[in-house]
């Protein structure tokens, strides 16, 4: 079997210290293969976002080891971590984090700007990403003037503008109505199937979780293996095979 894109080995994370210390994650192990779609499911406060931040190298685990394509994340230099965050990972934040007064296009091309891509190419790639999400006509609008669903799509456009290998999506449909939610879901799965982008989705939505190849259930900072079902994996495998 090929080296997993991300491999967590018994990773833990706690917040605060002393009496206020809270173990948000108590040792979770998982492997994510390239091209997979994985749902992280669990109750509120169970540690899903914490796990996702650790996987995306946005935070450091307190215990355990995280391997990125076989390399220990702790051994990566700052420059390499920044390259991974910028080029290989796309992150869809639950709260959008769009710069309110900047245009939609400017928001979407931010990762390219950070990468040092020249303006002309930035614009072309930004527009291509917006077109993919049917937002091209809103490119010049200020981000603050978008509807909720449009903001969600703008954030996805920003996550994929750099052609990442992995997209992390934290509750991508959490604050959308069912119809718009379905559109966003379709876009994400199309990226997974057509471009082979690895999807890691945190969600409360059982149906969205079911569309993924695999589900990882988190309860109180630990993986709940009674529900993280292998049968689903088989089912997902067949599903993926049908599309290959």
């Amino acid at each position: 079997m090929s080296v997993p894109v991300l491999s967590a080995q018994n990773i833990g994370k706690s917040y605060g210290s002393g009496a206020n210390r809270f173990d948000a994650l108590k040792g979770v192990s998982l492997d994510i293969q390239a091209g997979e779609s994985v749902a992280i499911v669990g109750k509120s406060g169970s540690g899903k976002s914490t796990l996702m931040h650790l996987l995306a190298l946005l935070d450091d685990p307190d215990s355990g080891t995280l391997l990125v394509e076989g390399t220990d994340a702790r051994k990566l230099r700052g420059k390499e971590v920044n390259r991974l965050r910028n080029q290989d990972f796309g992150f869809v934040f639950q709260q959008f984090f769009l710069t309110a007064n900047a245009t939609v296009l400017d928001n979407v091309v931010l990762p390219l700007k950070i990468a040092g891509v020249p303006p002309r190419e930035r614009k072309a790639r930004g527009m291509a990403a917006l077109e993919q999400l049917e937002l091209a006509d809103k490119a010049k609008n200020k981000a603050i003037n978008l509807s909720g669903g449009q903001k969600q799509r703008a954030v996805i456009a920003r996550a994929l503008v750099n052609n990442p290998k992995v997209i992390f999506a934290d509750e991508p449909t959490g604050n959308l109505d069912t119809a718009t939610g379905a559109v966003v879901e379709d876009i994400l799965f199309a990226l997974n199937k057509d471009k082979g982008i690895t999807l890691i989705i945190v969600t409360h939505d059982i149906e969205l979780a079911a569309r993924c190849d695999r589900q990882i259930f988190i309860r109180d900072g630990l993986e709940d293996t009674t529900e993280s079902g292998a049968p689903r994996k088989r089912h997902a495998g067949a599903h993926a095979g049908a599309h290959a």
Partner: protein
């Protein structure tokens, strides 16, 4: 992120909160404005003095007087009266009315002359002629410029006075020309004027002198300049008929030394004279002390401006700390997207430097505008009697230095907030409410 993008983003960010940036810019503006004006006054006054005495005429001359210390010290009180010592100087021998100066006597002059390095010594005499007349066109009062033989004049026409010459030479100020009956400066050069002077007995005599040049009025003394020959002639008349001993004491004397002397040799001569109880100054010393006073005044003004700038520096710190706080999430987002800490730091310090640049450039620009305007008004008004005096002058280099220094202060002020921004952990920053 490319540097050009950082600069563009920093500039755009500083305009996001226009009021806050505006207020900080005003604080810097005030400091930079003051600093530019004071440095402009410094440049203007210094360059005026420089043109006035550009090439110091007599680099080989020391003005010698008796030092007060030799007769009374501050701790011992006044020295015991010595009837043989010349204590006061009669008017006409170089003293100021109302002052008591320890006079130089003939004995002192020989002592000074014997000092190693001194080639010769002349007592300084101040002559007071009654009138000047040209070609019978009317008699006018004449004021003698006492420093004329020591400095090189700012000539309007003709040439400098020659102290080596035995002919009686006079240098007229431009302001005398019209009354005396000259059409212009050139016309006066080479003409002969008559100077009237009263001798000790009260009889008036007349002396002829050649106009060698015409000078623009200077701040180091107004009036006509006389060469040594003419001064001697006039002095000889003034003391004609005086009882012996009434005129042989002088306030100061002019001692000559080798023009090729090094500064160290000049210092040795001055130290030697000081040991014998004589204070001595070269022309450069005299002008130097004048410039020192001006420099001190400008220094005080500059320090006020610098205080204003330091206060403005805290304004920058405050402005940036607020904008770092306001943009905490944005910083978190940029870091989550792979922007490194160094770039975040550069982004915020560029913003500080830009605010500094904006304030200082506007301040310097306004100062140049206001300064030039005021300077022109003064030059045509209060200072119209001093042709060539532009009180405020701006040297591009000093303006560039001021802007540069302000930008440096801004950069230093920005370090603290920029560090705070650069150190943030992306997730903590994104969680910030």
């Amino acid at each position: 992120m490319k540097f050009i993008d950082i600069v563009k983003t920093a500039i755009a960010n500083s305009f996001r909160s226009k009021l806050r940036t505006g207020l900080t810019v005003i604080a810097i503006f005030i400091g930079a404005f003051t600093l530019t004006i004071t440095s402009g006054i410094g440049t203007g006054v210094t360059s005026y003095i420089d043109t006035q005495v550009s090439a110091i005429g007599a680099a080989d001359v020391l003005t010698v007087s008796k030092s007060a210390d030799s007769t009374s010290s501050t701790t011992d009180g006044p020295a015991a009266y010595d009837p043989t010592k010349a204590t006061t100087v009669s008017l006409g021998n170089g003293s100021r009315p109302g002052t008591t100066i320890q006079a130089l006597t003939a004995k002192d002059l020989t002592k000074i002359e014997k000092t190693p390095g001194i080639l010769g010594v002349d007592p300084s005499v101040r002559v007071t002629p009654d009138y000047i007349e040209y070609d019978g066109k009317g008699k006018f009062e004449i004021i003698v410029n006492a420093t004329a033989t020591l400095t090189k004049a700012d000539l309007a026409a003709g040439s400098q006075l020659s102290n080596a010459s035995t002919t009686d030479q006079i240098l007229l100020p431009t302001t005398y020309l019209k009354n005396l009956g000259f059409t212009n400066a050139k016309a006066a050069v080479g003409q002969t004027v008559s100077i009237g002077i009263t001798d000790y007995t009260g009889a008036q005599q007349e002396v002829k002198a050649t106009v060698v040049g015409v000078q623009n009025e200077t701040i180091l003394g107004v009036g006509a300049g006389l060469n040594q020959a003419l001064t001697d002639t006039l002095h000889a008349i003034e003391v004609t008929g005086a009882p012996a001993g009434a005129t042989d004491s002088y306030a100061t004397a002019t001692a000559h030394f080798d023009v090729a002397s090094t500064p160290a040799e000049i210092t040795t001569i001055k130290d030697d004279l000081a040991k014998q109880g004589y204070a001595s100054q070269t022309v450069a010393d005299q002008i130097g002390s004048f410039q020192t006073v001006i420099n001190v005044i400008i220094g005080v003004l500059n320090s006020f401006a610098v205080i204003a700038l330091i206060a403005a520096g805290f304004g920058i710190i405050n402005t940036l700390l607020m904008s770092v706080q306001e943009r905490t999430r944005e910083i978190g987002l940029m870091k989550a997207m792979g922007m490194n800490g160094g770039r975040v730091y550069t982004l915020f310090s560029t913003e500080a430097v830009f605010i500094g640049f904006l304030g200082s450039a506007l301040g310097a620009l306004a100062a140049v505008g206001v300064g030039s305007l005021v300077s022109n008004i003064l030059a045509n008004g209060v200072f119209s009697a001093l042709p060539g005096l532009q009180v405020v002058q701006f040297a591009p280099s000093s303006i560039a230095i001021i802007i540069g220094v302000v930008m440096l202060i801004a950069f230093l002020a920005g370090t603290l907030p920029a560090r705070a921004a650069a150190r943030q952990n992306p997730i903590d920053a994104l969680r910030y409410e």
